[in-house]
Symmetry: C2
Subunit: 439 residues, 2 copies
């Protein structure tokens, strides 16, 4: 087995050849090192202190004190891993590590540490701690990648990929006035984290400006855990369309208004919720549809609701299919409106276009897992991820590890220490393989 | 035509006879005076200044500044009508007028001036201004009733008949900690109005302690206006049962949780809203059922709701029928729970038992209207009223005037000046007839 200096030299030599061996480490007869799983899981436990709530999860919404404190902890870990962390104008934390060839575009690895209200300890956090662990492992084994390496902790993923979308240039300036779950606007939140919205344009990276992006994440669905598959190779990230739906009827006295004289907006909204469910499940495929928020006005037990505001969210890998489902729902709601004397209005509130991962990245991830004797399955991501934004500027891959019972966005979210360590090892191996292959 | 002194003497003489004539004024050949309709409607307009909102109604919830200011105005009107207003320990305004026979139990006439949020200018206000107008008319015509007269403005009718239920002894001390729409607790609100909860027991009146209670009110339903009937003779006030319904499913990620793996509490709640409507209309009768408030938790567009809290309200003149409808709904919800993997729990939050009006009062009101050449219809009240509480301590009658389009608890609430004047004249005539009949 060659020493590290010899290995690094061989890496350069291999990259210089026209036809790179499919597995450089195998070709060079060196073992790819393994991450320190105990340390990785210990870091996850330490991270769970920030924003911990009584029910065992975290409430660490972006721009909260807990978020900022956790980010300070993350920057300490980066320094221990010999990364040089800085905060960009969008509030993202970027830990840099020089590569052997400064003329190459950087490889990015990352995830997020913000959570939903009453979230769990794994969503985003596994990929964040995993990326730092990979960097620390490289450092401990004195491996220098060809490409410059950037470990990125994206800010405010849960609120709408604000950090990663700033980098892909997809944040509309108007969005900076949106109020986040912390109560702060996006602009205030970015300043709170140490960013500078006045310089937001500077963080933008153009398509083709990165060598690639890799993200490790928990599945958040139940299929890998149920079928005892170790590693998910993500083939794409679904698009997400969200609307605010306003149902208008007529508010009236709940005692004196006969049932047949009512224009009950909540009765109409209830039929709408049922319609969304029925429409989504009536079409073959993996699309999902959700009404997650609802409010009736004026909202008193003794008043027939005259107005209801609710949300509609549809997700699929195919943006056209999302719109087809949406149009069917809108058509169905017209009948509900006629039957109940109400009207429906729809306002777009959010759109994430679907993102397909790079086939080379998928192949490398699958092969890396197999070399580690781990089982794999290719699957789409039903959840949105920062990888979506990165897919707009460079080739992207995502690695999933199982979520027990598929529970996510909940304090009961759980991935086992073994699965997390497996995921980080696949991340490390995939990164090194891609580093040797990519220009 | 005799003069007023002679009239008052005749009134005493008539009461002393064993068999009172059915219509004393007719027997005595005097005209019952008419109220001053212009003044009455002007008072209503002036009252609408207090808590007026931009959309033309009032937001004068109990214990608000607007409520207190309007009450000061009401007390001025009482003094002008030669009533002696005081505030009782429960915060009710009582304007007293001595009768000819101090040994007789008092006749009470009244209503309320508090409103729902974004309420109208007639609910409660017509009966309050009408009662004061009746007293002023009596004063101007120097008519002294046999019974002592009390014009009562009950506090916080809309929040749950707190003023009148204090007098009937039906306020549970625990209710004083309830938070009203003003943000104040009931106890704080009573103090704010000049009452004294420490002395609340003193306002209680025992059954049999009043000669009777009359209330003029707008119908709040659309039947009188639609059928062009002048006066409604209320045969009873429906009972009201309210429950808080908690639907428990399982909160999960809206992108990664397949449709068939969800335990969506909002889908279950939507089916419940539909079930309530279907059950209530499937049974013959005038019962009504309403879900007026709903909230999904955690309430994010991208999270499958794990919990929904909503209200259920059922009203009918027959308490047994309310419970029959309730049991059918609960049984139907069990199937929804099985189908959706959720559970339903019910908590009683409010009960008003049905109240039947006194047949003698109904007859007097109907005859008084006929003498004024007004058309009448007997009908139940779908709304709760202070008369419900009064029915527990003495014989009670209610007079309805038409509500245009049946709109109530809304700035669009409207009763015409002519209808209001008619109602006050029926109130005056009924009061005098009952005054001559009752012991």
């Amino acid at each position: 087995m060659m020493n590290r200096r010899q290995f690094n030299a061989a890496l350069i030599g291999a990259a210089a050849t026209a036809a790179l061996p499919r597995d450089l480490f195998a070709a060079l007869r060196v073992d790819v090192p393994r991450v320190n799983g105990g340390r990785l899981n210990a870091h996850l436990t330490e991270l769970s202190r920030f924003g911990r709530n009584a029910v065992g999860g975290v409430s660490r919404v972006a721009y909260s004190d807990a978020d900022r404190e956790a980010r300070a902890y993350v920057m300490e870990l980066m320094r221990a891993a010999k990364l040089e962390p800085t905060i960009d104008a969008a509030g993202n934390i970027i830990g840099r590590r020089a590569g052997q060839d400064a003329s190459l575009r950087p490889m990015l690895v990352g995830s997020h540490i913000d959570s939903v209200p009453e979230g769990g300890n794994f969503d985003g956090q596994v990929g964040s701690m995993g990326a730092i662990e990979v960097a620390q492992t490289l450092s401990e084994h004195s491996i220098v990648t060809r490409h410059p390496l950037e470990v990125v902790i994206w800010q405010n993923e849960e609120g709408g990929l604000y950090g990663s979308r700033s980098v892909s240039g997809d944040v509309n300036p108007r969005e900076l006035a949106n109020v986040s779950r912390s109560g702060k606007t996006i602009a205030e939140g970015i300043a709170f984290l140490g960013g500078d919205v006045a310089k937001l344009a500077e963080v933008r990276r153009m398509p083709g400006s990165i060598a690639g992006y890799l993200e490790l994440h928990i599945e958040q669905g139940g299929t890998l855990a149920r079928d005892r598959v170790n590693i998910g190779v993500v083939d794409g990230i679904v698009g997400i369309n969200q609307w605010e739906v306003t149902v208008t009827g007529f508010s009236n006295h709940a005692g004196t208004t006969a049932m047949n004289a009512r224009r009950d907006a909540l009765l109409a909204a209830a039929r709408f919720v049922e319609l969304v469910n029925r429409t989504v499940i009536s079409i073959p495929g993996r699309q999902v549809g959700t009404v997650g928020r609802i409010q009736a006005f004026p909202g008193a037990p003794n008043v027939v609701p005259g107005k209801v505001v609710c949300t509609l969210e549809l997700r699929d890998l195919d943006a056209k299919k999302i719109m087809m489902v949406y149009r069917r729902i809108v058509a169905g709601a017209e009948k509900i409106a006629r039957d109940t004397g109400t009207s429906f209005a729809y306002q777009d509130i959010h759109t994430d276009i679907p993102a397909v991962t790079d086939p080379r990245f998928r192949a490398v991830i699958a092969r890396s897992a197999k070399e580690l004797e781990l089982t794999t399955r290719q699957l789409p991501s039903g959840a949105g991820h920062d990888a979506q934004a990165m897919a707009r500027i460079g080739p992207t891959g995502m690695i999933f590890v199982p979520s027990q019972e598929g529970i996510s966005h909940s304090p009961r979210e759980l991935s086992t220490a073994g699965d997390i360590t497996n995921g980080a090892n696949v991340l490390l191996r995939s990164l090194l393989a891609l580093d040797s292959q990519l220009g």
